[in-house]
């Protein structure tokens, strides 16, 4: 991905009047996002809250280049990604973004370590083609990086365990490690603690915060839990497809 004006001032994410209509052109067309303007800085840790059906998941999918906006402009890292084709979006996803889903979504046929290594495996040929000197993405390098991340999420005993052998919290920690393995600029998390008990939730959340401060990765976390939202730097509230609130979390910034 080429990056124009990639300075610290350029917002990592800039949405201008982004709209999303499902079933466009059909009688049952339904606009779920009505002109979203949103800007997220590098290294920011933002919560995205709102009632069910407010369009949180749709917004997250658009931010994650999994869905296309029906209107408006999306700039990611300074580059206009609105009109990219499927392959370009996939490459941008691979090089810039990380995903954490509510239901872990690990591949059951692969061990924990292999799940974490998958993004590197996907891109090896591509990276080699783009820059023959591409380092840090070879087999041994990606294995070392995956192992280090699993250590960091406290799973050094679980390298070779299959997802089925891990608890929900452990699976989610594997998923976090996977989202970070290629050093993304932005991680999108869709209710990452949605089906975990309080202790595991806190644990996961602490991990996200730690990677945020240690590696400067920006996070946008969709959550229903006000307790967790309160621990983010910024809280973006979505209601009926519009941004109803966007505030700095003073308590947090102060603390």
């Amino acid at each position: 991905m080429t990056q124009e004006g990639n300075s610290a001032d350029t917002p990592l994410v800039a949405l201008a009047q982004v709209r999303k209509t499902y079933n466009e052109g059909l009688p049952n067309a339904e606009e779920v996002l009505h002109g979203i303007d949103l800007s997220v800085r590098r290294g920011e840790f933002a919560a995205l809250i709102g009632p069910s059906g407010s369009g949180k998941s749709t917004l997250l999918n658009i931010l994650g280049l999994l869905e296309r906006a029906s209107g408006g402009v999306y700039r990611l890292g300074g580059q206009d990604v609105t009109g990219l084709d499927d392959d370009e979006r996939t490459h941008a996803r691979h090089s810039t973004l990380g995903f954490i889903f509510q239901f872990h979504h690990l591949l059951p046929a692969f061990s924990a370590l292999e799940n974490v290594m998958l993004p590197a495996l996907i891109g090896r040929k591509r990276a080699a083609a783009q820059s023959p000197a591409a380092n840090g993405i070879g087999e041994s390098a990606s294995r070392a990086r995956a192992a280090a991340l699993l250590d960091a999420v406290d799973l050094h005993d679980a390298y070779n365990k299959k997802p089925g052998e891990l608890s929900g919290g452990m699976q989610q920690r594997v998923a976090i490690a996977r989202s970070l393995v290629l050093g993304p600029q932005l991680v999108l998390a869709d209710e990452p603690t949605g089906n975990l008990d309080t202790r595991s939730s806190d644990n996961i959340f602490e991990l996200l915060r730690r990677f945020n401060s240690e590696q400067g990765t920006a996070f946008i976390v969709v959550t229903h839990d006000p307790r967790l939202a309160a621990r983010c730097d910024r809280i973006i509230e979505l209601v009926d497809g519009r941004i109803a609130g966007d505030r700095r979390n003073r308590a947090r910034t102060a603390g």
Partner: protein
């Protein structure tokens, strides 16, 4: 993981994960390949046995002088129909003019592997009180053996035809009450006669031939038939016997003689072989289609089952082309595995049935032999088939919308 690259790694894992499905689909492909292998072996066995029996004691192509016809002095026309009745002419023993040149010319014709000059005609074999009507075949044995193998038909004695020596069928020997080394007299229609000593007994594959054929040296036959220095047939062997008719047509055109291929003289056998080939081709095509449909349907189900995983892979950066290849590879690998298992199955079937199925002559209808080329062809064809069968499911996988797939 990793040394194989993304597509291979994921394809292999998916196959291993769906163990039951993979086993079923490979089993299906294997049965298909096994059946094709088996019917191919049976077909080849049955047909080569049949052809061996039909052509065993006969040349692939026989070149003779044209039949003598009666040419009416006035040709019939539409307004002046011919009133005369034309009687067919009795066929005398005729010989080929300038046969040495013709033999050389024939030998160099494309597709022809050997040519033997033969002087043949009807005669009587007489020993004591017994006399039997026979066909005398006079030829140079070494030349003739390149056209019709006699060594595998010899039951007793030696293959040798010095002047005054003869090879005869086992039935004739019994009819004449003669054994190896005995002498008998041959009397021709031209009223010549000569005594021959039996040097060998032949089993030519049919009672008829065993009763009729008497092989002697060329000169002996020529003097018996009163055609000194001349011959009645050129017996011709070709490389590909299924092309005998085309080669015969070419010889007919270039020599102007009467040329008959074994296909013409055994028209029904050839038609039967042709029908068999068409039927087995149909069976092969249908089995292939069924196998392809089987592979495709299992992969279609697999794509549906793995919706979520495909969605995740797409989300974390796998391109459509990569997902396409993951499923194409699965099809190809299933095809290869099916071909290998199926070849083993086919070999086993051939092994079992080669003991059970025997030809009329009691020899096994086909022999068990490991044909690495055939298996190689099966593996390649089956890999391609798997690949083609996987196109539709692979496209389904590639076209999956990741956002929808992940949502559930």
């Amino acid at each position: 993981m990793g040394t194989l690259g993304f597509e291979w790694t994921v394809a292999l894992r998916f196959l291993r994960e769906g163990r039951m499905q993979t086993a079923l689909i490979i089993g299906g492909a294997a049965v298909g390949v096994g059946v094709i292998y088996f019917i191919t072996a049976v077909l080849v066995g049955v047909q080569s046995d049949l052809i061996r029996r039909v052509t065993g004691a006969q040349a692939h192509i026989v070149l003779k002088p044209p039949e003598e016809t009666v040419a009416p002095l006035v040709a019939a026309t539409a307004d002046a129909p011919r009133l005369a009745s034309v009687q067919a002419r009795p066929q005398r023993l005729t010989t080929i003019d300038g046969w040495t040149t013709l033999a050389r010319q024939t030998e160099t014709t494309e597709g022809v592997v050997a040519v033997a000059a033969v002087a043949t005609g009807a005669a009587l074999a007489i020993k004591g009180n017994a006399s039997r009507s026979i066909v005398v075949l006079g030829t140079d044995l070494n030349q003739y053996m390149r056209v019709v193998r006699l060594d595998d038909k010899l039951t007793q004695g030696v293959l040798r035809l010095e002047p005054g020596e003869a090879l005869i069928g086992v039935e004739l020997a019994r009819d004449l009450g003669a054994v190896l080394g005995d002498r008998f007299r041959v009397q021709s229609a031209e009223n010549a006669s000569q005594v021959f000593q039996i040097r060998g007994l032949l089993d030519l594959g049919s009672r008829e031939l065993n009763r009729r054929n008497v092989y002697v040296d060329l000169r002996g036959a020529q003097s018996l038939l009163n055609i000194p220095g001349r011959i009645t047939n050129l017996d011709i062997a070709v490389g590909d016997i299924m092309r005998a008719e085309q080669i015969a047509a070419r010889l007919r055109a270039q020599s102007g003689q009467l040329v008959e291929s074994w296909i013409q003289t055994n028209n029904q056998v050839f038609a039967a072989i042709n029908n068999q080939n068409i039927m087995t081709l149909l069976i092969r095509v249908f089995v292939t289609v069924v196998v392809a449909l089987g592979i495709a349907s299992v992969l279609v189900v697999s794509v549906v089952q793995k919706r979520k995983e495909i969605g995740i892979l797409r989300a974390i950066g796998a391109t459509r082309a990569q997902m396409l290849r993951v499923f194409l590879l699965q099809g190809a690998m299933v095809g290869i595995a099916g071909a290998l298992v199926g070849s083993a199955l086919g070999l086993a079937l051939v092994g079992i049935f080669s003991r059970v199925l025997r030809s009329a002559s009691g020899t096994p209808l086909f022999t068990l032999h490991f044909d690495a080329n055939l298996i190689g062809i099966f593996v390649i064809a089956s890999a391609l088939l798997g690949l083609i069968a996987a196109v539709l499911p692979a496209r389904n996988a590639a076209d999956l919308d990741p956002a929808q797939a992940i949502r559930g």
